[in-house]
Subunit: 334 residues, 2 copies
C-alpha cells in the first residue's frame, strides 16, 4: 500500500510538472498580446488538422543576433573585438600611432568620422581579422570572448544575451522548429561560441563570410583568411544568404533593426501562417533605448512597416520580465 | 500456452532480424577490404572508451554527388539539363540557329571545342539558368528531373544513383553522423530532389551558387537568379565551401574525381580517426570505366595520392554487388 501511494503521488507530481511546464514555456515574458501572439502561432502550426498546420520539415525560423539575441550597444561586439585586437597588435606596429584609421582607435577617438568609411573599416578588418588560418582565428576569438566584458554591465558579452529569447528559441526547438542565426556578424566570429551560449551549432549559424583560400602546407592543409569580405549577410543579403545556406524559406523571423527588414519581408510576405517579430529597445533603465536615430542597430523603415505587414513589435520594457540570464558565479566576486 | 509460444517466437524472430541487420549494414557491398575499412572506421569512432571515439557532434561526413552518388556519364546531368533547356527555348530564340554556342548545342555537336570555353558555358548557363526567380527555377528543375531519362540505362537520372552509397549514407546516419552533399553542381539544381532521392534535406546540400538578388515586387518579395556564378564549389572551393556552409571539418569524405582532391586532403590530413574514399569507375559493363583521361570526372592526382594518404579506393566492379537500386515500377512498361 505504501509503495502504491508513492507511485500514485509520483504520477500526480509528474502531471503537475508536465502541466505547469506546458502552461508557461516563456516564463520571462510578461502576459500580454506579444506573448500570446507567439504562443498562438506555435500552437496553430503544430496542431494536426489545423488549417495552419505546418509539417515539421517546413518549420524554419531565423534569428538575427546583434540586438536580437544579445546586446549590441554601445558598439557591436565584433567591432569591440577589432578595437581590442588593434590595441593588442599595436606594439608590433609602431607606425599605427600616427597612421589612420589605427591612430584614432588607439587614441580612443571612436567618434572620429574617419573611422566610419568603408576604407577605414576594411583596413582595420584586414589588420585584425585576416592573415591567419581559420583555426587560429577561432582560437583568438575564443580567448577573447571568454574574458571580454561589457563596459556597462560588467559581465561577459556572452552573458549579455536575452533570457526571453533563449526561452523562445528553446520553445520553438521543442515544437519541431529548425532554428538558425542569420546575422550581419561574421560566421567565424559567432560559431566558436554559439553552441555553448545559445545551443546553436555551427552549421546553424549563417553570417557574413571572409574570402578564404585553401593551401596545402608542409604541416598540412589550411584555410587562410584573406583581407577581403566575401559576402555581407545584411539587409537584402539576408534572404539571399538564407537561400544559399539553408535553401528554404523561413516561416518565422526575428530581428531588431533595418538590417532585418528584407528577412522579415521574405519570411512573412507569403501564403500560410507566418510570424515576424521585432525586438524594440525601449528600456534605457535595464538595457538601452534606441531606434530611428541610432547609428548602431537603427530601426526605422522596419518599424514603419510593422503594422502594415503584421509584424509584432516586442517592447523590451513591457514584454520582458528580465533581460539577461542570472549572473554566472564569477571567480573574481565572492 | 499457445499465445506464449507465439510471443516467444516473435521475440526470437525480432532478435534474428536485429542481429542479421547489425551483421550487414551494407548488403550491396561485397565482402573484402573496402567494406571492412568502412565498418572498422564506423565501429571505432562510435565505440565509447575507444581511443578513436568521436563525439556525435563531431561526426561529420561529406559526399560529392556527380560520380559518387549518381552516374555522371556520358555527361554531367546538369549539363544535360542545360542542353535540354536550350532546345526547349530555341523556338523563342531563332537567332540561336546560327549563333554559337547555341548553334552547336542545337545541332547536337557537343564535341565542338567552341562549347568548352568558359565564355560559351557562361552564355549557355545565363540563357537557361538565370533570369527567373528561385521558385520558378525550382519548379523547372522539378519538371525536368521527374521525366528526364539516362540515354543508356533508360531510367530516370534519379534512379541512376548508387545503391551501395545509399546504404553507406544510411549506415552513417544511423551511427550519429551528420552527412552533407558537397558538390560542384548547383545548390538550386540539387535541392529540389535530394531529400526524396537521398534522404538529404536541402540544408545539407552544399554546392555552387549563382548570384541572386532580392526584389520586393508588387506581387511580393522574390529572389532573382542573375547571369553570374557566385561560387564554384569544386577543387579548392570544396574545403572553403565546407567551412562557409557548415563551419566544421569533416572526419570522412567520399569523392570520385580530382574535383574532390582538396576535400579529401582537408578531411583526412589531420589528427584523429579519418576516412577518405574514392569511387573508382572501373565497371564498363554495369556502368562506365574511366579515370585519368576522362573529360567528365577525371581521376588522376587523387588516384596518385590515394596510397600515400591512406584513402580507400572503391572498385565499382569488385566491391559493389549491384550498382543501381531495383527499377521502380514504371507506368509505361507492363
Amino acid at each position: 500500500m505504501h509503495s502504491c501511494l508513492k507511485f500514485a503521488l509520483s504520477i500526480f507530481l509528474f502531471f503537475i510538472a508536465a502541466t505547469s511546464h506546458a502552461a508557461d514555456p516563456l516564463p520571462s515574458w510578461n502576459e500580454g498580446s506579444t506573448k500570446s501572439a507567439i504562443i498562438k502561432f506555435i500552437s496553430k502550426v503544430t496542431t494536426p488538422n489545423s488549417p495552419d498546420f505546418v509539417a515539421p520539415e517546413d518549420r524554419l525560423a531565423t534569428f538575427d543576433n546583434d540586438g536580437t539575441l544579445w546586446c549590441e550597444q554601445p558598439i557591436y561586439v565584433q567591432v569591440q573585438y577589432i578595437i581590442d585586437r588593434t590595441r593588442a597588435l599595436a606594439p608590433k606596429n609602431p607606425d599605427w600611432q600616427t597612421k589612420e584609421p589605427f591612430r584614432s582607435v588607439l587614441a580612443g577617438e571612436l567618434n572620429n568620422p574617419e573611422l566610419m568609411t568603408d576604407h577605414a573599416i576594411g583596413e582595420l578588418f584586414a589588420a585584425t581579422c585576416s592573415g591567419m588560418t581559420t583555426e587560429e582565428f577561432e582560437s583568438m576569438v575564443n580567448d577573447w570572448i571568454t574574458t571580454a566584458k561589457h563596459p556597462r554591465f560588467n559581465r561577459l558579452y556572452t552573458q549579455c544575451i536575452y533570457q526571453p529569447m533563449l526561452e523562445l528559441m528553446e520553445y520553438m526547438r521543442e515544437n519541431g522548429f529548425a532554428i538558425y542565426i542569420v546575422s550581419g556578424g561574421g560566421c567565424d566570429f559567432m560559431r566558436p561560441w554559439t553552441d555553448r551560449v545559445y545551443g546553436m551549432p555551427k552549421q546553424h549559424v549563417v553570417g557574413s563570410t571572409v574570402a578564404t583560400r585553401f593551401e596545402l602546407r608542409p604541416e598540412g592543409p589550411i584555410l587562410l583568411r584573406l583581407p577581403k569580405i566575401n559576402f555581407i549577410e545584411d539587409k537584402t543579403g539576408k534572404p539571399v544568404g538564407i537561400h544559399h545556406f539553408i535553401g528554404r524559406r523561413p516561416i518565422a523571423a526575428f530581428g531588431n533593426s533595418d538590417g532585418d527588414l528584407e528577412m522579415l519581408q521574405w519570411t512573412t510576405m507569403n501564403s500560410g501562417p507566418r510570424l515576424g517579430m521585432i525586438v524594440h529597445h525601449d528600456d534605457a533603465e535595464r538595457e538601452y533605448a534606441y531606434d530611428r536615430r541610432s547609428l548602431v542597430g537603427r530601426l526605422d523603415h522596419a518599424l514603419d512597416q510593422a503594422q502594415e505587414r503584421g509584424w509584432v513589435v516586442i517592447s523590451m520594457k513591457n514584454d520582458w520580465k528580465s533581460i539577461f540570464p542570472p549572473a554566472s558565479p564569477s571567480p573574481t566576486t565572492p
